[in-house]
């Protein structure tokens, strides 16, 4: 397919008509900066083909703001050797015509023809979308979509497949895929798609089979148990019958009885032995009793003799004690006599000493009385002197305070006098000799002076009188004070009984003398009688009393003062008396002790005599001899019995030893236990038989074998079913695998032409590289040898630039394939390959140039400098618009 002319009018930015004529059958290069209208031209071509002219969804085609516009596209093209002209107007003036030579198609008819011709579909409603675009959608690469290959290929798959089948001839299966799908569906009913494990009815069948097998196994176990029980029952019955016939425990019971009899005999023997032993023990007791009885008789005899000996000894002791007591009696009398003598001597000595003492006392007392008398006399004298001094003191007593008052008054009077004199009127006179004047009452001669304090009349004989009145203001007052003071002074003097201060002074002096006299007398008195006179007098009286008493005592001591000289000293006499008294007391004490000892000895003798008498009485008792004889007799009998018993014991012990009752007892246990064991076994067996019979009846009622047969029947069927399904699943699986692998091989064979075209371009882009095409005819894995050695990867994993490049070469390969199948091919590249580096772009230019030898290519770019080496002139859209 070749476009030869494009005319656009009232279409987006092309309000004015734009015509591009004389398009080259190969490469056509359109340049222009952004917004120049490159994409608008592409849009116009797409709209002319894809959009229904009646479509209401193409508002975007009209120029902006021009509601009255009818976007119009006119295309001249040639395909399959036939020239066509397509005119399409949208919106306001909806029109479509397709003219081919003499033929003209209008409206939808024209559009449907167009779609068949180019291999696309129209949208049912609304604007055309990618899924409708078919071959043009694949070959017309919109801006920035070159890398996206999968969806456009999907939308063109039918055309591509048709092209492939056409190229290969009719070798593909007409219904192969449908059969494959059916097989897959059938297979997936039985097996899971992923793991091929059983599912659905197959799984059910397997489970049913397994369930029944398990039931059978359980029933088999039950049946085996049942059979074992049956066998057990048979065995038990045999044993039971054998036992019933033989009754083996009876023999054992008989043996047990025999053993028991023997044992009883042995036990009787043992009892007899016990009796003998007991008898021997009793005889032993009797023997012991008799022995002690005989011993007691002997002891009584001994006791009498002992008692007699004791009495003799007691009597001896009494005699000795009495002798001792007599001796002490004598000695005690002597000592008492000596004591009396010593005591009389002591008394005499004491009298002598008393008398001497009294004489000395008398002398002393006489002396002291005389002294006391003298002292008393002196003291009386001193006391009289003291008394007179004190009387005089009292008469002259003047207190120092009164004297001080007198002295102060005297002083004050003098002071007042002086003040009066100072204030008084001084009258100095010098009288001629002989002349006398009188001042007041005083007659004066010579010279002198007087002080006048009172109004005084100075009589000047002869001349008259002068009345002088001292003029001092307080002179009178002073005079009154002085007068008062003098009064008080005079009163005091009067009270004191003196005439003046001097007299008072003198009296005080006298008083002081008296006082000194009193003190002297007092001191003297004190010396004579420190306790006073009365004490002295008392002492004297006391002394006189004692003197009288001493004289009386002396007078009472008459005695014989003459033999005094023979007397020892008082101390000697006292110690002699003391010794004598102690000796006498000692002797008395010894005497008392001896008396007591004698009394004791007497009572001991009495007791011993009594005891002897008692013992003798017992010994002399009349029945004692008979008892003794009887005891002796009994003893002999007992000894004989003891010997007999010992013989019995020996004989019985020997018998017992031979019979072995312990072993007999064991025999009883052994035989009895065995019999019991057998009986119990038989009884248990009977029980088990009953139990087994009941169990077997119950189990038999279940019809185990028949149930097992039923299960086995069902199981066999389940096995058949599972086997059938297993075969079917295996067959389906196998079939599916086979179908898929053959289909895949076929696909590869079918895709060979496409691969061939792709390889042609791929070698130009990546020499020695290998790009697979998958089932969906989309590029898959790429393998190439680069600087880093062999590398590979999926299409989606490569860089945007590489994907864009491969997207372009894939499309060129599709174009080649479609062309070979006689389908129209027009390639439009809108700003493609902008992400390619210079080297890749250079290679892509070789690719595109090569493709342009077979296909018309419209290439729009805003980078004219990149495409200068394509061997064609670039058309500037701006230039075209300017035309």
């Amino acid at each position: 397919m070749k476009l030869t002319r494009i005319r656009i009018e009232q279409f987006r930015q092309f309000r004015q008509p734009l015509q591009i004529a004389g398009l080259d059958p190969g490469l056509n290069l359109f340049t222009g900066p952004n917004e120049a209208g490159k994409s608008t031209v592409v849009a116009a071509i797409r709209a002319a083909f894809f959009e229904r002219h009646r479509s209401g969804s193409v508002d975007d085609l009209r120029p902006w703001g021009d509601a009255s516009a009818s976007p119009t596209v006119e295309l001249d093209f040639e395909t399959g050797g036939v020239a066509y002209r397509l005119s399409k107007s949208f919106l306001v003036r909806k029109r479509c015509t397709l003219i081919s030579g003499a033929q003209q198609f209008d409206g939808a008819d024209a559009e449907d023809r167009l779609a068949d011709l180019l291999g696309f579909r129209h949208a049912g409603r609304g604007a055309s979308a990618a899924e409708h675009w078919g071959i043009p959608g694949l070959l017309w690469i919109q801006q920035g979509t070159a890398h996206d290959i999968r969806d456009p290929v999907a939308h063109a798959t039918d055309h591509l497949r048709t092209a492939l089948n056409t190229s290969l001839g009719e070798v593909a299966s007409s219904g192969g895929d449908a059969v494959t799908d059916e097989v897959e569906a059938l297979r997936n009913e039985l097996l899971t798609p992923a793991n091929a494990t059983p599912r659905g009815p197959y799984k059910d069948a397997i489970e049913t089979e397994a369930g029944l097998a398990a039931e059978i196994a359980a029933l088999d176990a039950d049946i085996a148990a049942y059979r074992n029980k049956v066998d057990r029952l048979a065995a038990l019955r045999r044993e039971h019958e054998a036992d019933d016939a033989q009754k083996p425990w009876l023999a054992l019971r008989a043996q047990e009885q025999a053993a028991r009899r023997k044992f009883d005999e042995a036990r009787a023997l043992g009892a007899r032995l016990g009796d003998a032993q007991q008898r021997a023990r009793r005889i032993d007791d009797t023997l012991a009793l008799l022995h002690s009885q005989l011993e007691r008789h002997g002891a009584e005899q001994n006791e009498v003799e002992q008692r007699r000996a004791a009495l003799t000894a007691a009597e001896d002791r009494l005699v000795a004690a009495q002798a001792t007591a007599q001796q002490w009696q004598r000695r005690s009398s002597d000592a008492a006599a000596r004591h009396d003598a010593a005591r009389q001597a002591l008394n005499r000595t004491r009298q002598r000493d008393t008398r001497a003492t009294l004489a000395r006392q008398l002398d002393e007392l006489t002396r002291r009385r005389d002294a006391a008398r003298a002292t008393l006399a002196q003291a009386d004298t001193e006391a009289g002197r003291l008394r007179s001094a004190r009387q005089q003191m009292a008469a002259t007593e003047l207190r120092s305070a009164d004297l001080a008052t007198l002295r102060a008054q005297q002083q004050d009077i003098r002071t007042l006098r002086l003040r009066q004199e100072a204030a008084a009127t001084r009258v100095r006179f010098t009288l001629d000799d002989g002349r006398v004047i009188r001042i007041g009452e005083e007659s004066l001669t010579g010279q002198g002076e007087r002080l006048l304090t009172d109004a005084t009349a100075v009589t000047l004989p002869g001349l008259g009188r002068l009345d002088i009145t001292p003029g001092g203001a307080d002179l009178a007052d002073l005079g009154r004070q002085e007068a008062a003071l003098r009064d008080r002074h005079a009163a005091l003097l009067a009270r004191l009984g003196v005439g003046s201060l001097d007299a008072a002074e003198a009296r005080l002096h006298i008083y002081m003398q008296h006082q000194a006299d009193a003190q002297t007398a007092e001191a003297a008195l004190k010396a004579r009688a420190p306790q006073g006179l009365d004490a002295l007098r008392g002492e004297l009286a006391m002394l006189e009393g004692r003197l009288a008493e001493a004289e009386q005592s002396l007078s009472r001591l008459i005695g014989e003062p003459d033999d005094d000289a023979a007397l020892p000293s008082i101390n000697e006499a006292e110690s002699q008396e003391e010794a004598a008294r102690a000796s006498a007391a000692d002797a008395a004490k010894q005497l008392a002790a001896a008396d007591i000892a004698a009394a004791n000895a007497q009572s001991a003798v009495d007791a011993a005599r009594r005891e002897l008498r008692n013992a003798q009485a017992m010994l002399d008792a009349p029945e004692r001899a008979a008892r003794l004889a009887a005891a002796q007799r009994a003893l002999n009998e007992a000894l004989a019995g003891r010997a007999a018993a010992a013989a019995d014991i020996d004989a019985l012990t020997a018998q017992c030893r031979d019979v072995r009752p312990d072993i007999l007892e064991q025999d009883i246990r052994r035989f009895g236990g065995s019999a019991e064991q057998l009986e119990r076994t038989a009884s248990l067996r009977r029980d088990e038989l009953t139990r087994l019979e009941v169990e077997l009846q119950a189990a038999g009622a279940q019809g185990l074998d028949e149930r097992r047969a039923e299960r086995a029947r069902d199981h066999a069927r389940a096995v058949r079913r599972a086997t059938e399904l297993r075969h079917r699943a295996a067959a389906l699986d196998h079939l599916l695998t086979s179908l898929k692998s053959h289909r895949s091989a076929l696909t590869r064979r079918l895709q060979a032409p496409l691969q061939k075209h792709l390889d042609r371009y791929l070698q130009l882009l990546f020499p020695h590289a290998n790009l697979d095409i998958d089932d969906q005819l989309v590029p898959g894995a790429l393998k190439r040898t680069g600087a880093a050695g062999a590398e590979g990867g999926r299409f989606e994993e490569f860089s945007f630039g590489a994907r864009e490049q491969m997207g372009v070469i894939s499309r060129l390969a599709y174009a080649d394939l479609l062309r070979e199948a006689g389908r129209p091919t027009l390639i439009i590249l809108d700003d493609a390959l902008v992400h390619s580096d210079d080297e890749r772009l250079a290679r892509m230019k070789r690719v595109l140039f090569d493709a342009a030898t077979r296909h018309q290519i419209l290439l729009f770019t805003c980078h004219p400098e990149n495409w200068r080496d394509m061997g064609v002139a670039a058309r500037s859209l701006e230039a075209l618009k300017a035309v």
């Binding site: 059969v179 049956v230 038999g700 029947r713 179908l739």
Partner: protein
């Protein structure tokens, strides 16, 4: 003249797992029916007694209902039934017989010999020497006491035993429960009625296996019979007449398909079977798809007609011809797949069968599709 009915191996309670449930149920039911027919036969023939030589029940543990049913089936003949237990229903300490007795199921005219001994029928002047099995398996000859067992003079001596006569049956088959050959003569028996062998068989002039009255397996020859035994007088040689009692005939068919006409022959054979037949068919050889389809249709038809048909085609190979493939319109890679599957059938292992199945499946699918498409167009 003494007239007996000799039968054995009723195998009551036996089920048939190898068949489809409906068929199996009918075959199990048939065993009861056979016993009813025996009773009827005994009545019609006017025999003096019926001898049942063991294996009355197929197992000890049958359901109570089964026990009752069996004894009810005997009602058609009021004369004496003399039975011995066989290896399947041996007289163990607890057995189907003790259960039957407990259930009160055994009618008074049925004598079950649970212990070796003689059952005397004074009126008939018959002494039956019974050798019942009291264990599941014995390795001693239970009939060895027969010779030493005295019977009243002038009485018929009839032996009744269950086991395998030594030396006449294939070695290894039922070698347990042995019975010495020539026992009848040795023990002065007028007739020795045996059970255990399911086919009807004469051992010597006085010794017979009656076989089972209703066939229960494919390999039992001459089964489905009972024997009418007539003895003119004690010591006289018995006259034995087999009578067919079985309802179903069992066939074990094999066929090898080599050429196209083999199918035709096989189909004729299949067409000969009728509703009383139980058929087991094993095929090998090879056929084309068309032949396989015909075979399949024929098998389906036969299955609808006979009591039971079990076909084993696992050894049969399918060899599609060009015509087959054309007929299936198996173009493109489907053709390749068919080729491959056909080739794989030749391999020795299990893949061959799988490939055959796959091929049949694929052919079926394609035929269905063609049918659908053809109908559509």
């Amino acid at each position: 003249m003494l007239k007996l009915l000799h039968t054995a191996d009723w195998q009551i309670g036996k089920l048939y797992g190898q068949f489809e449930p409906d068929d199996a149920a009918l075959l199990a039911e048939a065993r009861f029916a056979a016993v009813e027919r025996l009773a009827q036969l005994a009545s019609v023939q006017g025999v003096h007694m019926v001898l049942v030589a063991g294996d009355v029940f197929d197992a000890q543990g049958v359901a109570e209902r089964t026990i009752h049913r069996l004894f009810n089936c005997l009602r058609g003949y009021a004369g004496p039934w003399v039975m011995i237990p066989g290896n399947h229903d041996a007289a163990l300490s607890e057995s189907v017989w003790t259960r039957a007795a407990r259930l009160g199921a055994i009618p008074p005219n049925v004598m079950v010999c649970l212990a070796p001994g003689v059952v005397q029928f004074d009126a008939l002047r018959v002494a039956v020497l019974a050798a019942p099995l009291t264990q599941r398996i014995t390795h001693s000859d239970l009939t060895s006491v027969f010779a030493a067992t005295d019977t009243p003079a002038g009485f018929h001596r009839i032996g009744l035993a269950h086991g395998s006569v030594q030396g006449i049956l294939a070695d290894g088959i039922d070698s347990s429960n042995p019975i010495a050959a020539g026992r009848a003569a040795e023990a002065r028996l007028d007739y020795l009625a045996l059970g255990d062998w399911h086919g009807c068989r004469q051992v010597d002039a006085r010794t017979w296996y009656s076989g089972t009255p209703e066939t229960d397996r494919f390999r039992a020859n001459d089964s489905g019979r009972a024997l009418i035994v007539e003895i003119a007088a004690p010591g006289a040689e018995p006259v034995v007449t087999p009578v067919v009692t079985g309802q179903y005939r069992w066939f074990n068919e094999r066929a090898t398909l080599q050429v196209a006409s083999d199918i035709d022959v096989l189909l004729e054979r299949l067409a000969a079977f009728d509703r009383a037949d139980v058929v087991q068919l094993m095929l090998d050889g090879e056929t084309d798809l068309a032949g396989h389809a015909r075979l399949r249709d024929a098998l389906a038809q036969t299955q609808g007609r006979v009591r039971s048909l079990t076909a084993d085609l696992s050894a049969l190979r399918i060899a599609p011809t060009e015509d087959d493939i054309d007929a299936l319109a198996a173009d493109g890679y489907l053709g390749d797949v068919i080729d491959e599957l056909r080739t794989l059938q030749g391999s020795g292992d299990g893949e061959a069968e799988t490939a055959r199945d796959a091929l049949v499946l694929l052919a079926g699918l394609l035929r269905d599709r063609r049918g659908t498409n053809g109908a559509a167009s």
